[in-house]
Symmetry: C2
Subunit: 125 residues, 2 copies
């Protein structure tokens, strides 16, 4: 059958707290070489997501401030046991490029991106 999200996702990813500055979020995104940072509360629960796109929006609107002012709060997620076509469908439906992978208690255990999925098409045919 199809690979599962847990076979394709990246684990051990960085997360960020809502009260961190937009500038600090930008520094972490650049240092990490990725585009997406799940936002978590002090007890590790997923409360939002902030991306390079959100930071660009802050630049477009001359907005400074904290992650919580620019993050998306209604986060689309997947489970590690979902097959990858579910992940690909959600990315397409919401026009997004990453899905935090959460366990039954909504703790973030990884992230799966459109870059991870497109890699599956790079192999020999």
């Amino acid at each position: 059958g199809l690979p599962l999200v847990k076979d394709v996702m990246t684990d051990g990813i960085g997360t960020i707290k809502p009260d961190v500055s937009i500038e600090e979020a930008a520094k972490r995104i650049i240092k990490g070489g990725f585009n997406h940072l799940p936002v978590v509360s002090d007890d590790g629960r997923l409360v939002g997501i902030v991306t390079a796109w959100d930071i660009s929006k802050a630049v477009a609107m001359k907005k400074r401030g904290k992650v919580e002012q620019i993050m998306t709060r209604k986060v689309i997620v997947v489970s590690p046991s979902d097959p990858i076509d579910i992940a690909a469908r959600k990315l397409e439906q919401y026009n997004i490029s990453a899905l935090p992978v959460v366990d039954a208690k909504r703790k973030v255990i990884g992230i799966i991106t459109s870059e991870d999925l497109s890699k599956l098409l790079a192999g020999g045919t």
Copy 2:
């Protein structure tokens, strides 16, 4: 066989000139709902690419100015007649998420992204 880049790419895309401000580039990226803008010279030749990631880097470095100061100049591209596994392989090799599609004269005729490729995995199995 495999679909070709021209079957999957987005055509009629926005481009931007090197002397436009970073703030204006951010506005166009947000208005368009995408992450990547090919940078073209006055005669339409591809001279760089600027993305939401580059704008985030400018925020991280407290840099203002023009697109030409933050764009990537050595652009990885594909041809419309390439099969999609070539595109997927280039995205993976360079850790990027978009490839301008250029004709024989290096004129930009579209763009193909990891989001476009991951959509191919969303279909019924």
